[in-house]
Amino acid sequence: MDQPVRIAVDIGGTFTDLQILDARAGRVQAHKTPTTPADPSEGLMTGVREAASHFGFALSEVGMLLHGTTIATNAVLERKLARGVLLTTAGFEDVLEITRHVRRELYRLDPDPFPCLIERDRRLGVTERLRADGSVEIPLSGLDGLMEKLRALEPEAVAIGLLHAYANPAHEEALAEAVRAALPGVPVSLSSEVSPEIREYERLSTTVLNAVLMPVVQNYLNRLKARLGEGGFTPRLFLVQSNGGMCSLDRAAAQPARLLLSGPSGGAMAAERLSRRLARPNLVAVDMGGTSFDVSVVQDHRIGLVTQGEVDRLPVRLPMVEMRTIGAGGGSIAAVDAGGRLSVGPRSAGARPGPVCYGRGGTEPTVSDANAVLGRFDPDFFLGGAMKLELGAAREAMVARVGDRLGLSTEAAAEGVMRVTNTQLAAAVRLSLFEKGLDPRDFALLSFGGAGGLHACEVAEELGMTEIVLPREPGTLSAYGIMFADLVQDIARSRLLPLEEASLPAMEETLGALHAEAQARLDADAIPAGQRAVEIAADLRYRGQAFELLIPWPEAPALTPLLARFHATHRARFSYADESERVELVTLRASAIGRLPKPEESRDVPPGASAPGTRRLWTGGAWCEVPVHLRETLAQGVEVAGPAIIEEAFATHWIAPGWTATLDPEGAVIARRTP
């Protein structure tokens, strides 16, 4: 074992989180270092070097680096994108700008248009037309004149999206060849390769995003590769995708749109893994940070996927982890309006200026300030002592902007802010379960993120849930999830067919193509035969419906089990099924999975024994001395009865009155409602 170390890195806005697994000891350890926004690979390397000296391994011993990055997402949000040109079927150049045109803010008098990443003068019409079955109505022509116009626009990236190209890529491929000849070296993105699915606007949006990201992501990967080799640092490198799996660098460079919604992937992968290790098949995973609260559902040990997401109101038609996000977090601002209504959010103080207690110029009280006022933070040990909290300023803001206006004391105002926040969080969790026909009482609440441990008990109580799980290092859980991920490449083919025997030959042909492509992708990543798997799924609907359900199809091409599973899923989600109704296939999908070896982790919890300290805290309407336990020194088997605080370097957990917490052998804190 010459390269026993595996490192997972999750680069966030403020911190770069690392998890290090050294197979020699089998232990997973965490490290944090500031993010370097100008070139995130710099912070990444700093973190790796710091971890190497701190935990005692050589850079040459690192065999694998698993990397989660928001580089693609940030490039879109900040519009640091390549200058693109779109080639599309003549007569449909404006589809990208017309969008689907439903508005989101009903009452707004000065609406903004949906973003459009390639303007009208850079969208060129192509003479050609395919029909829905892939046959040619108008042959492709006029390439010479088109290439001339294209060159004059000096594109840095070219997107090609033609009507019905999901059914027949021939015109797109011929165009791509012409573009590559006319503009050598300029990246080209084809809708039939990026997202070969029916629905022109969504496919086009995805293809355009992909094209204008290609140069950006390629640059980043080049910088990253240039750093490899330093001090013998030569790990195999993989990137996190939106679908909860990893991909190789080549794949990421060719299809960077697959990185766009990867933020929640790490947390989702961690939730799945913890669900197994803690033997709890049903979990609601909530990730609460400074600005957002993300809810995902683990059912029978698996997180759900959806086939479309969006970034900055732009649809991305690629598989991603299913998640409900609301704008509530530690930075959510509490305010009282002219009518005397107390609101929390949706405005947020964000990271800058941040809550008042951060002392960075924030003046409006936030949810974090409410926690601070109630004494739940140690002002001298916040973020592991990295930041001193200004409690006085937080109290002043709370009383001036909330308490005085409502005739409440400072503490009552802070408690009120907490109550309002917790009911909002609970409503988001309830809806996420409710829309799947699930009951919160059948689930445990897995709460993580920087602020997750402060609200878990009360949110669970609102929902009638009796168990919460607070994982170790909740602030770096995404990196932990990444550590144990697999390579997953999604391949899709839209083909609208009635789901019946007569369609089988056509379906088998498509399945064959999917399998062949899956194996070719696994070959390209040099995955050994024993570590390969291909999973098939189908997007199905009743004839006439405008959306599909994603149904796994392990028995492909046998139709009966697929139909039965579709009816059953439809009944579970929508409360009825109609077995006499015709079912349609819209898209077939294959996931090519390359299993990465999973080294054993041992979570040996040090036999802590130190006696708890105490802190003055506002609870039950009075200031009380409440025990404060350090998680690192919490002993196995000890029961911590609320009210109590469990503290660790980057997180604080509030065990509310009526709850009792113990340490699980895995190192997670499990708290139960005292019956």
Partner: protein, 540 residues
């Protein structure tokens, strides 16, 4: 009871409306409910005033409380509602809007005290009448528009009235879909009632009633503040529907006289035309929704939208007018009158707050229906609702192709249409020059073309703004009016915008060009960069 408990209850009531919404979405059967999301859910106080709602369509917003209050006042007094009763109606002349919208209400009790009502509104796919979809363009009385259900207990004491159920089934084209969707409305009421009772178990009946009162008061205060910020005065404006489709070419006037006095607004609609023969009339539920929507758009963002917002606003509309039609006037296309009423309201509001109100949006729902008939007689139906451009705002250009005003629709993917029926969309693009010129330019309308690939096709259209263009404001110019054409054998023929069952044949092309939005401010003052950009992008 302090502000914190009020906010907790307010959040929980909003969450209850959201759970009811998810229930309809999860359990309904028809595409119109689940995919066009043409439904709304709401929670009301014990007197029928709306406390919280979940809705995406402005024409539904603020109309349900009106209906429930009408039912309580004129048909089934509050004292006659038991905890296991459900009352339904679709009758525009009993507080509703048009027959496809069925309203369902349930009273909620805690320890014997009525503390709330839960309500749902769904647009159903067909309720019988002259034309499939119950949307006939040429109906002249409500009896041609479908089955009328007066307010009645479809469930009494927990038992369904099978006679009513059977009668509905007998009178409509798609009974399984309608009754399926109606069942999902009933299920949603149970979910809402359970959520409200869960809350009452924590806080008690008295606190629930008190919280409801305080929520209404807070919304009222916010709305009064918004009105008080407008200068006192009388502001008048008028706009026109081209016609009602029956008396072709006879314009219909929508006139608004808005009086702002302190923190109250009075809207006098007595200058509107008498009710029309064709189905473009509105009942009070519809026209009030348009008036309230116009004023509520002027409130501060974040205001909680509840019936408290209605208190400082008074609407006067003489019975027998196009905005307060008398039975048995036809009302299926009531959306036409509400679009134009909103345009007129905004024209009046512009005089009060000239820096906030945009010029006219396209102001109508471009409804097209294609029924293709194959050689073997097989039929496929496509219903589309297209849109145009939004009006220019004093500080911003209008938005190209943007769903605005009283409706909120999505278009249908071209590739899906072509994969499912013998129609080809041959063009879908913005319509240059269709936005009104101005210092701020109106958003562009669009062009969509459909080619018939089957031997026969029946085409139905219902749209407006072909004569009376969306107006500009403050010197901005009007947008281009729409056009609807048939291209046959190389000839282009104008098609009347309100048409039932036009016979098309293979190769025919229908070309729709929609209105943009009006411009704002003198076009001479448009800055150089904006002009250059318009030119570069081919918008002008």
């Amino acid at each position: 009871m302090n502000a914190i408990e009020i906010e907790v209850i307010r959040n929980a009531l909003t969450a209850a409306a959201a759970e009811m919404d998810v229930t309809v979405w999860r359990t309904s059967r028809s595409t119109i409910v689940r995919e066009l999301l043409d439904y709304s859910t709401a929670v009301f106080d014990a007197e029928g005033w709306n406390l919280a709602q979940s809705a995406r369509i402005p024409s539904h917003l603020n109309s349900m409380s009106h209906a429930l209050r009408e039912i309580l006042a004129r048909f089934i007094p509050a004292g006659e509602w038991g905890p296991d009763d459900v009352v339904i109606t679709n009758d525009p002349y009993c507080g509703g809007q048009h027959l496809p919208d069925i309203l369902a209400f349930k009273a909620v009790f805690h320890e014997g005290t009525r503390i709330a009502f839960a309500g749902t509104l769904c647009h159903h796919i067909d309720v019988g009448g002259l034309a499939a979809g119950s949307y006939a363009a040429k109906a002249t009385e409500i009896f041609q528009e479908g089955l009328r259900i007066p307010p009645l207990k479809v469930i009494a004491g927990g038992v369904r009235n099978e006679g009513v159920w059977a009668m509905i089934r007998q009178n409509i084209r798609k009974p399984d879909l309608l009754l399926g969707d109606l069942s999902s409305q009933l299920a949603s009421l149970d979910v809402g009632a359970a959520a409200i009772r869960r809350l009452a178990a924590r806080f008690g009946a008295a606190a629930m009633i008190e919280a409801g009162r305080r929520i209404l008061d807070m919304s009222e205060a916010g709305m009064r503040a918004a009105i008080a910020a407008m200068p006192d005065g009388i502001y008048e404006f008028e706009d026109f529907l081209d016609d009602d489709g029956v008396e072709v070419g006879k314009p219909i006037r929508l006139h608004v006289s808005l009086t702002i006095e302190g923190d109250e607004a009075r809207v006098d609609l007595s200058g509107c035309s008498p009710q029309a023969l064709g189905p473009v009339n509105a009942t009070l539920a519809s026209s009030t929704a348009a008036v309230m929507f116009a004023l509520m758009c002027c409130a501060e963002p974040g205001l909680h939208m509840s019936a408290g917002c209605y208190r400082p606003i008074k609407v006067e509309a003489p019975e027998g007018s196009v905005v307060n039609a008398r039975a048995p006037a036809a009302v299926a296309h009531r959306i036409a009158a509400t679009h134009r009423l909103l345009n007129a309201m905004n024209g009046a509001l512009h005089q009060a707050v000239p820096d906030r109100i945009p010029a006219a949006y396209y102001g109508n729902s471009y409804v097209t229906t294609f029924q293709t008939v194959a050689a073997d007689g097989g039929r496929e139906v496509l219903v589309e609702i297209e849109i145009g451009g939004s009006g220019a705002h004093p500080a911003k250009d209008g938005v190209n192709a943007f769903s605005s005003g009283m409706h909120n629709n999505s278009n249908i993917p071209i590739e899906m249409i072509e994969a499912q029926m013998p129609l080809t969309v041959t063009r879908y693009e913005l319509r240059p020059g269709s936005g009104g010129a101005g210092e701020r330019r109106g958003g562009l309308g669009l062009v969509r073309e459909w080619r018939v690939d089957s031997p026969r096709c029946l085409f139905t259209a219902n749209m407006d703004r072909f004569v009376h263009a969306p107006y500009g404001l403050a010197g901005g110019q009007a947008a281009a009016p729409g056009t609807l054409e048939l291209v046959r054998d190389g000839d282009t023929i104008a098609v009347p915008p309100k048409t039932d069952n036009l016979e098309l044949r293979e190769g025919d092309v229908i070309r729709l060009a929609t209105s943009g939005g009006g411009g704002f401010g003198d076009p001479e003052r448009r800055d150089g960069d904006a002009r250059t950009r318009d030119e570069r992008l081919g918008y002008a």
